[in-house]
Each structure stands twice: as structure tokens, then as C-alpha cells.
Symmetry: C2
Subunit: 333 residues, 2 copies
Amino acid sequence: MIETPYLLFLGDAPDPLAAKVAQGIKDWRPENAIGQFRMDGCKADLRLPDMTLAQAKAAGAKTLVIGVANRGGVISQAWKKVLVTALEEGFDLASGLHNLLMDEPDLVAVAEACGRALHDVRVPEVDYPIANGVPRTGKRCLAVGTDCSVGKMYTALAMDREMQARGMKSTFRATGQTGILITGDGVPLDAVVADFMAGAVEWLTPDNDPDHWDLIEGQGSLFHVSYSGVTMALIHGGAPDALILSHEPTRTHMRGLPGYGLPTLEALRDLSLTLAQVANPACRVVGVSVNTAALDDDAALACLAEIEGRMGLPTVDPFRQGAGRLVDALASV
Amino acid sequence: MIETPYLLFLGDAPDPLAAKVAQGIKDWRPENAIGQFRMDGCKADLRLPDMTLAQAKAAGAKTLVIGVANRGGVISQAWKKVLVTALEEGFDLASGLHNLLMDEPDLVAVAEACGRALHDVRVPEVDYPIANGVPRTGKRCLAVGTDCSVGKMYTALAMDREMQARGMKSTFRATGQTGILITGDGVPLDAVVADFMAGAVEWLTPDNDPDHWDLIEGQGSLFHVSYSGVTMALIHGGAPDALILSHEPTRTHMRGLPGYGLPTLEALRDLSLTLAQVANPACRVVGVSVNTAALDDDAALACLAEIEGRMGLPTVDPFRQGAGRLVDALASV
């Protein structure tokens, strides 16, 4: 649906985490990421070639993807000049922001005049049902985090990649804008109306072969007061057979909530399992995935060993080490 | 905003619970409930006078309120004839259904031709913020249930009524269509977009006097897989100081989910408190409210005594006994 390859627009990202949409596309579909476009003050860098619109066009880019997320999802005026010029130079635009491209009259007018497309991947395109809680065939795995942005999506994508390499049956199920931009479909869960959240997750993970695994993209955290309702709907709508605990060991407070410390992995394990067993009494916690990007090799290995010893669960950084041990752990379910 | 008094439309309600919107209006604003309009096969009865549209008009009714909720919130074709006729006879219409009056072209056309208003109280009219988790002044109380439709709204309304009678500072905060139809304002939480649910609850319960209590209308249940995400957002957005556990002792399975048994009150207490203390470490469980409508007096009193002994918490049916002991219990917070 969205024409590839992309030029990834990083705007004036205030920190690298704000560019996680673009980072995810680059990591999981590098063939689609021709270059990055950064504005003055941009604090993110994907280590892709910095390109002007003209350079990217010459290199074959078809769509400018807004690969940066701001709190509240606003399309700033500072971005508008670039976006309008991109349309005029023949790019389509794709965005996962709450504030929609289609709600910006200037962008709509220019896109129409230039015959270009505006893709708002965050807009739900399906009338999702209310969840019915009926058990489904096939298996499902969900990563739950001590905080937002700790590597839940990476964990699911890495497990999917590993399972595909082993010839196992698996599908990555996208629930956010990055995942949808990577895979081309999914449910933009944080934009779904509250009553239909769990039903949307049931719809996304239907009956399947008994040996098929859905790797469901996690969202938010049960311990993050801004987004915990979304996480709850993923747990009850997804009815996972297996949970992975996700963690970032250098985080000092919950993302965006300076007054809130992180929970322990033990607290996350106990709370997540209690809630998941409401929908699927057979659910088990099978492993831990740790985002050690902020640690050097020695510190990362020490951190992983400490957690593995404490929790008694296979513990890996799927970005450093691959997801093989987490996939192995699914065999126990 | 909505003109009173009302004629309450019960349609073809499949059971009395389906008419809980109308029941709530009758119980808490009886002066606004002139009569009921029932169609063939209606299984609900509010013990109000059954009126034709003409009789209600003659008695002074200004608005026909759709006081019945169907699974999925559909406006059936069977209702349309009555609604169109009501507009033609000079009634406004008010509805809390997901399926909006304003999305029905025939109703919109007739309303326009007749100069009547269509009120969709479920439609959010505010751009709610993302929750920031910052502690607020004043106190908040939330009822959480073992299931949906167990008396959470009644509990909050009864506590508010008792506190007003005692000259205490309190406000009932509506989060659903019934509450909004009763009070005239509130947040239609189950229609809010997922990312903004907790922020909407923060917006609804702002800073207040230190001795003021918000009595927040509960929704769903942490143990109801269809709606648990909404309950989660109420707990983290409301950041309650006091929790009331709500229960209906004759329920044999979760409402609408035949495969799901009810949790124990102990499980509800432990899970709710764990989650609430993420947002407000001082939160306490202060009492139990039991909907004993299905029991006779002796059975009801025995049930309440058994729960009170087991849980060690003041336990009342606020509809039978008033909410005095629950209000007393707030003094311990």
C-alpha cells in the first residue's frame, strides 16, 4: 500500500528514542530505508546517508516517512515547509502520528494538486468488534515491559525472524505505527476507541494452525499510568500462551513520568501473569528480554547473567545475541 | 443542555440489565423521568407509567432518551419508526449508544426538518490530554467490580448523595452514558481513543479542596476481558485514595462471557490495590458494596455479614441500606 523505498524524516527529534519509528524501519527493512532527512537541532541519527529531498528522489525514494514521534503526536509548523516541498517534488507522505496528515488542510491541498498520497497508518480502517473472550486455536506470545520503549517490538520481530529462519510457523502482529510501517498491516491500537481495544487484538490474532505462533507487538506498560489501559487490552485480547518480560536496565524513571520509578521484574512477572491467566489460564512467563544498548559488552553480559540467575528464566538481549533462546523457551508452552 | 423531563425509551430490551441507563435516570433524577416507552417483547420494566408519544408530550416530556444498551450499541431498524415519529411529534432525542444518532441519515434529515436536536452523549467533546501522572490535591474514590454491571455507579451516586446530606464536599464524576445523562456532564470513557483514556480521567478529576471527594463512576472490571483496559485507565488516571469493591453475589459467570467465572473479592482487592498504588501509593481499600437486588432481606443480610466477616471491611448494599458506612470509612483515608 505504501510505496517503497522510503526517505526517513527525523525532523527536530529531541532525543534518539523519539526516532524509534525510523530506527525500526531501518533495522527490520533496511532495503526500504534509502536515507534520513534531519532538521536543525535533530538529536537523532540513524547512521543512514543524510539526503536532501532532491538527492533522495534521485536515489529512487518514493515516500517520505515521518519516522519521529512527539509527545501528543503534533505535526509542528517547523515540519510543514519540508512536507509541502516533499509533496511538490513528487513524494508521497506516510505518518503514524495522532495528528493526521489528512487533517492538515495545506497538506491535503498540495497533495491533491500534485497527485500525491497521504498515508495515516495510525487511523483504524476496520470496525473492530467487542472482544468475546472465546479461546482461539494456535499459539500467541506477547512481550510486556517494565516501561514503555524498552524493546518489546524488537523482541517480537527478532523472535519472528528466528522462527522464520528455523522454518517454524510465525507471524509478527503489528499494533503500533512502527510495526505497521514495517509490515504493511496491523492494528493502530492506541488510536482505537476504548471499548474495542481488546476486540481489535482478538481480530488481529485469529484462529490458526496449532503449531503457529503470533508474535504480538507489545505497547506501553502495566506500570505506566498514561498507557496502561492499552497494555491491559493487549493482555486480555491477545490471551497469550507465553509472556516475555522486557526491560531497560539504565532507565531511572518511567518514560515521561519523572515522579515514577520502574517496577522490579518480579513485580512485572507477578502482575502480568495474574492478569494474563484471566484470559488464558495456561499462560506462562517463558523468558526475559533486556535492552542493553546503553551498556558495554561486559556490563551487558553481567546484567543478563544477574537477571537470569535471579529470575530463573532465559534472559537475552535479542539485538545483541539474537532471539534463539527465547524461541527455544516457547517449546516449553 | 438536554431538555428535561424525559420519556424513557426501553425499546425491545432483552433483559432488565439492558435498561440500566433508564433505571439510573429514574432512580437518581426521578423528577426527570415522566414515563417509559416499551415495544413488543421488551423484557424491562421501570414501574413508570407506560406512555405513547402523544401521552408523554401532553404530560410535558421534552426529550426521548434511549435508555437501553445493546451489545455493540446498534440502533436497530425496529427502533427507527418510533424515533422518527418522536422527532415529528416534537421530541428531541438523546442517546448514549456507540452507534450515533448523528450517523443515521434518516434521523438527521427528520430532526433538521422538524427543528429538533439529536444528543449523542457518548461522543467526546473535548481533546483530552495524555495523562501526566502528576499528583492532584483533593481526594478521590473509585468503585471497582468483580464484573461489569454490579452497582459501581449506584455506589458512587449513593455516596455522593450521603455526603451532600452531611454537608461534605463531594462531586459525582460521570464516566458513562447513564452518569452523563443523569448529571449533564462527564467523560464518555469507553468512546475515548485509547491513548487518551487515562488523561481524560485526570481531566475529569482535577485539583480540588483538600477535603473534597470526587466519587468517580467505575466502568467494566479488571477481570472482564472485553473492557479491562477501560478499568485500568480509570485506576491510573483517577489515582484514587480510596477503593470500594463492588460485587453481585448471584452472578454465575462474567457478563457476556459464558466461559469466564467471577473472581473472588480477595483477588479483586489484591489486584486493584496493587495497580492503584502505582499511581497513588497511599491508596487503600475501604469498603465493599454488594448489589443484593436478587436476594430477599434475610439472604441479603446474611450475604453482607459473611462478606464483612471474611474481608474485614464495612460491607453494605447502598441501595437497600444507604451508603453511610462507606462514607464513614472514607474518614480513615
